[in-house]
């Protein structure tokens, strides 16, 4: 039995991909070199960091939670990675991911053991991670070592594609496999759907919750490594607002903030959509017809998020039913 086709359903599940195709088309038609190799590679390279944190955020949101600490964690990881970079690319990578994972462990433990809401927990760890980053870095940026291959992780290419993009691609593939083909992945959705029922069904809800926050932290750590490698320095104050980008990407991709349903690939589309929009703004500025200061970008991003969210509210989730005769 197939679900009845309706425009609403179609848009809700495929909207983001359609929108992405739409903006790419728009950009291609309007600007020179929009789909040129240089631009595409730059966009992919730059947005890999956001892609990584959005993946982690997607899993967390699917459990019905949230992780506000991803930005600060990435900053912390970038500092740690930069400090470890003289010992090799591998050392820098490992150090950054470990640092991120440590924050993830803290989140996971506080949420599952102390039973404190994810919102407030990750608010606190965001603060702590920022503080730690500043402390470790002595309030300065930490230059990475160019004597090792560390910067290749951010600035290099492999098989013609930017290394960070490949890292993100691998992560997303792994994420999709985990979500669809492992019991832990299915349990992630179950937990977001109805956490109490999941426990009563005998499923390891706590273990899975701990796991998603750990993974989210680790991915944020990876993003921090890419940040340091790409820009040549560990930056303790970077990362502000990253969590919002991630939430926006996840929401735009169709994952419900309440949890219980979502798609890894749709999140990727959301990341790309937001990234391409940003690029379009740059191109538009370049054309010179309008001169949008960087400040307009926030406004436009906000308006865009608004449009998406309102559309989603009108089209999606039939589980809601109005409680007033006038529909509210």
């Amino acid at each position: 039995m197939t679900r009845q086709f309706s425009l609403g359903n179609f848009l809700a599940s495929n909207g983001v991909v359609l929108a992405l195709a739409g903006v790419i088309l728009f950009g291609w038609l309007r600007y020179d070199n929009f789909l040129g190799l240089f631009n595409v590679m730059s966009v992919l390279r730059y947005n890999s960091m956001f892609a990584l944190i959005s993946l982690g955020m997607c899993f967390v949101i699917m459990t019905g939670g949230i992780d506000l600490s991803v930005g600060a964690t990435a900053a912390l990881a970038s500092v740690v990675a930069a400090q470890a970079s003289p010992y090799g690319a591998g050392a820098g990578l490992a150090a950054g991911v470990l640092a991120g994972s440590a924050v993830g462990v803290a989140n996971g433990l506080i949420i599952t053991r102390l039973k404190i809401m994810p919102f407030i927990t990750t608010l606190a760890t965001m603060l702590a991670a920022s503080g730690l980053a500043l402390l470790l870095a002595g309030n300065q940026t930490i230059p990475v070592s160019y004597k090792t291959a560390f910067t290749w992780l951010g600035q290099g290419n492999l098989w013609g594609l930017p290394v960070p993009a490949l890292i993100a691609a691998v992560a997303y593939l792994a994420g999709a496999v985990v979500l669809n083909l492992t019991s832990s992945g299915r349990t992630v959705l179950a937990v977001g759907d109805n956490e109490d029922a999941t426990r009563l069904m005998g499923l390891p809800a706590d273990r899975v919750l701990f796991g998603v926050y750990l993974a989210c932290g680790g991915l944020a750590g990876l993003a921090g490594v890419v940040l340091a490698a790409q820009f040549g320095a560990g930056q303790p104050i970077e990362g502000k607002g990253w969590e919002l980008f991630a939430i926006a990407a996840v929401v735009v991709g169709g994952t419900l903030l309440t949890g219980g349903s979502g798609s890894v690939m749709a999140t990727l589309a959301g990341v790309l959509l937001l990234g391409v929009l940003f690029t379009i703004l740059n191109f538009e500025n370049g054309k010179g017809w309008i001169s949008l200061s960087a400040y307009w970008q926030s406004v436009i991003r906000g308006v865009f998020l608004l449009a998406v969210v309102v559309l989603q509210a009108r089209l999606a989730d039939p589980a809601r039913h109005p409680t007033n005769a006038d529909g509210t």
């Binding site: 606190a124 702590a128 400040y295 308006v303």
Partner: protein, 321 residues
């Protein structure tokens, strides 16, 4: 006291107890703690947080959250100087200009707040997402209005809200106290306050009991916007300058922390405005204690984070006992 009894006591009064302990500690170890100057410094820093946190308390009581408060502060902070400095339109009398500036700024933030409430009530959008929109776009609006430029001024008629004193007490502290008392009274004694808690406790039951949920939600977010506007005006008055990039940056977190530490349930249904005041004061004192004793600001952040976790944990355990 039995273990359960202690937990319950700590849960209900833990933050207040902590505050008292901290003050005592400071009297012992920090130089010059019991001076008027210290009091002023701390009050100044905490007033704006408390004012915003009061609005946040009411919003959280309905089970919502308002992430846009910082951006709304920036908007108020950007708009007001543009009016009383004559950038937008010229007004002869300074007092009149200042009045118009304040009214326009507060109207703007109140309307934006109502917009948040409307998104939430009309479209059933989650408060985090709805207020995220203005969080992102609001500061941008302020930045666009001022093109990111600093507005510096020296207008004593306006700045009394930040720098003035009445009988030696800063005006902003008086404002803060008035706002706290008013909000606590509204929450406890008025129909509106009861309706807020009902919505946060069980919104479906509230609707069926005839509570005008949509109207109440729009109103509470409007109030949050209004209070954020006041806070924004105070901040720029103190600094004699308005930087749209910086006004209110990060304050939503401080406000939420104060609310949580103060004992209001983040899921809604139970709220205490006095608790928020105590929560904000506690966090402020901790910060001050560390700073005054030479601990770097970054470390203070870590400590603040730990406090939030411990305070919320104690409260939850106290509630269960």
């Amino acid at each position: 006291m039995s273990d359960r009894g202690l937990m319950a006591f700590l849960g209900r009064h833990g933050t207040l107890a902590a505050l008292i302990v901290l003050i005592a500690l400071n009297i012992l170890i920090t130089k010059n703690f019991l001076t008027l100057q210290t009091l002023n410094v701390n009050l100044t820093q905490v007033c704006t947080i408390v004012i915003v946190a009061v609005g946040m308390t009411l919003v959280i009581a309905t089970g919502g959250i308002d992430l846009s408060v910082g951006s709304l502060m920036a908007i108020a902070g950007a708009l007001a100087p543009m009016i009383f400095l004559g950038t937008l339109f010229g007004i002869e009398t300074v007092w009149f200009a200042v009045t118009v500036a304040v009214i326009v700024a507060l109207c703007a933030t109140t309307l934006f707040g109502a917009f948040n409430g409307w998104l939430i009530a009309r479209f059933n959008i989650q408060p985090i997402v709805a207020t995220l929109v203005l969080f992102i776009a609001g500061r941008g609006i302020a930045q666009v209005m001022t093109n990111g430029n600093l507005q510096v001024f020296k207008v004593p008629e306006f700045q009394i809200i930040g720098l003035g004193r009445v009988f030696g007490i800063p005006v902003q502290a008086i404002l803060m106290v008035i706002i706290v008392i008013a909000a606590a009274w509204v929450l406890r004694r008025t129909v509106f306050g009861r309706q807020l808690l009902a919505i946060g406790g069980n919104d479906r039951a509230a609707v069926l009991a005839g509570v005008p949920v949509a109207r109440v939600k729009i109103a509470v977010y409007a109030i949050s916007g209004f209070l954020a506007g006041i806070a924004g005006l105070i901040v720029i008055a103190i600094n004699s300058a308005s930087d749209a990039n910086l006004v209110g940056l990060g304050i939503e977190l401080d406000a939420i922390a104060a609310v949580a530490v103060g004992g209001t349930l983040l899921s809604g249904g139970r709220a205490t405005v006095w608790g928020t005041l105590v929560g904000a004061l506690t966090i402020q004192i901790v910060r001050y204690t560390l700073l005054a004793n030479g601990v770097p600001d970054a470390a203070a952040m870590v400590v603040k984070a730990a406090i939030i976790i411990v305070a919320v944990w104690l409260q939850q355990r106290g509630k269960r006992a």
